[in-house]
């Protein structure tokens, strides 16, 4: 049975999770998409071949990908303070969430862009299209279903990461489950948050799949 004082607490926690995930997903899109494009474009035989740049970008992305989120979060606390002025709270959690998700999404963008047939890119070059136009009008539109699917996976991962952000006082559903469910042995809260997380992930994934399908004309 859910008692009356739990509902406001749940509402606040859900709101915090939503806030963390929304802003970090948005920033991830803004930063990860160009990074993914650069990873493909700087390839040997890419639009702007630059093997040295590619090697550096690849290494940076791999470093970001190799740290478990909870370690990354703690390790970059000074940076988080520099950016947001604090290390505690929902806003502060957005920084590590974004930093953790950008390399992840960049790799997914890279994979999606590589799925665009080489012949199509060459055909555009043969038409005299500029590199910028090829990225904006050929690569990105052609890879759009993959980019959407990748963003969906990233948002689901961010929902998972955001639960860990509770550890630095980021709030949210994960924080609620740990404080009430684990530390206070409140099984009801535990069950409710788990169900809520599952429902949210299901909804996000279904919406993402639907959108990706709608966008695909293959």
């Amino acid at each position: 049975m859910i008692d009356d004082d739990l509902l406001p607490v749940l509402a606040v926690a859900t709101g915090e999770t939503a806030q963390m995930v929304f802003w970090s997903a948005l920033l991830t899109l803004v930063l990860g998409l160009p990074l993914g494009v650069l990873l493909v474009a700087t390839d040997r035989g890419g639009l702007v071949p630059a093997p040295a740049v590619k090697a550096v970008l690849g290494a940076v992305v791999n470093v970001g990908r190799s740290l478990p989120f909870i370690v990354l979060m703690v390790a970059i606390l000074p940076f988080t303070r520099l950016v947001t002025g604090t290390t505690i709270g929902t806003v502060a959690a957005i920084v590590p969430l974004t930093l953790g998700a950008v390399p992840f999404y960049a790799r997914l963008v890279e994979t999606a862009l590589r799925g665009v047939e080489r012949e199509v890119v060459e055909a555009s070059q043969a038409m005299g299209a500029s590199r910028l136009r090829i990225v904006a009008r050929v690569l990105l539109p052609e890879a759009l279903p993959g980019l959407v699917a990748g963003l969906t996976v990233t948002i689901v991962a961010l929902i998972g990461y955001s639960a860990m952000a509770g550890a630095i006082g980021g709030g949210g559903l994960g924080d609620l489950a740990i404080r009430y469910g684990y530390q206070r042995f409140d099984t009801t809260v535990m069950v409710v948050t788990v169900v809520l997380l599952i429902v949210v992930v299901q909804v996000v994934q279904s919406l993402g799949d639907l959108l990706a399908r709608r966008l695909s004309h293959r």
Partner: protein
């Protein structure tokens, strides 16, 4: 119209794809480059619009040396050169009309004008009703028609065709080749095509270059090559077992005015003609044949002389 000279392409791996290629494509002709995979024909075609930078040599299209242009100049020049591809290379995210409009967007044509031109082009290739279909909903032949409409959108004088019919079934191949022929005649379009299929050369080409190991092994007008003794083209069109058995004669006719030379040979010289192999093909509307025969009889030598007089090409094996 297309002038290629001394073209060499050596890849970083050390592979020599083109080893000194010269090519002259005259205005308004369909020029076919024939070769097995690995012969360098694909590299050659990609060097013509500089998708591939040649290691050395020059490429001129419509009097303009492309190898001397900077990036912006090259982009402008490329808009005057259409290209069609083996796997069509259409944008799956755009409709048929959107695909055909793309080069017009690149060329900065205003929206209203684009729509008119797209409708015109779709009519030209016989796809009037398909403007809002997506490529995935089209057959292979229809996709290539979209590819052709797109290639012609910016009114190029030259069309490059990279194995454009290789992914199509025989019937569709013929209809696409017929379309290319019609566009060549109606628009005065110069077409440079590469193919590994002899029937493509036979059906549409005015001139041909045969490539082997990065070089042009033979080049010229189709009609001239067929009539030239021992030409590679003739051997490729009419394959006969090599080496020829001793005492045989290989006879190549190239339209002796419809004269039945073989039967008159038998009547006049009283020789026996033993046919060992051969075939007859229609090349550019002229019946051309290559037969391997063995002539026996007292006047066999005179019979050969008679054939020679008639302009028949003889290759004797002793």
């Amino acid at each position: 119209m297309i002038h290629v000279s001394g073209l060499r392409k050596v890849y970083d791996t050390g592979v020599v794809a083109l080893d000194g290629v010269d090519l002259d494509v005259r205005e308004g002709e369909i020029f076919g480059v024939l070769g097995q995979s690995g012969a360098g024909k694909s590299t050659l075609l990609r060097c013509v619009n500089l998708l591939e930078r040649p290691t050395s040599g020059t490429v001129a299209v419509d009097g303009q040396d492309l190898t001397a242009l900077d990036i912006a100049g090259l982009r402008r020049a490329r808009r005057r050169i259409g290209m069609i591809h083996q796997h069509f290379a259409l944008l799956s995210s755009r409709t048929v009309a959107g695909n055909v409009a793309f080069p017009l967007e690149v060329a900065g044509v205003p929206r209203r004008e684009r729509a008119t031109r797209v409708a015109e082009l779709l009519e030209l290739v016989g796809l009037e009703g398909k403007a809002s279909a997506y490529p995935a909903q089209l057959s292979g032949g229809q996709k290539q028609r979209v590819g052709i409409a797109r290639a012609l959108a910016a009114r190029p004088k030259v069309l490059l065709s990279d194995e454009a019919t290789s992914a199509l079934d025989p019937g569709t191949t013929q209809s696409i080749l017929a379309l290319l022929r019609r566009l060549n005649a109606e628009l005065g379009l110069t077409i440079l095509l590469i193919t590994h299929e002899m029937h493509v050369i036979k059906s549409v080409c005015d001139s041909v270059a045969i490539m082997r190991d990065g070089r042009v092994a033979e080049a010229g007008r189709l009609a001239d090559l067929v009539a030239a003794p021992g030409s590679l083209l003739t051997r490729e069109i009419f394959p006969l077992p090599e080496p020829a058995p001793s005492g045989s004669v290989t006879v190549t006719f190239a339209g002796q005015g419809g004269e039945p030379v073989m039967s008159s040979l038998v009547r006049e010289f009283d020789v026996d003609v033993d046919i060992l192999g051969g075939s007859v093909e229609d090349i550019g509307g002229v019946p051309v044949g290559r037969l391997r025969v063995r002539l026996t009889g007292k006047r066999a030598a005179d019979a050969l002389g008679y054939l020679r007089e008639r302009g028949v090409i003889l290759e004797e094996t002793r």
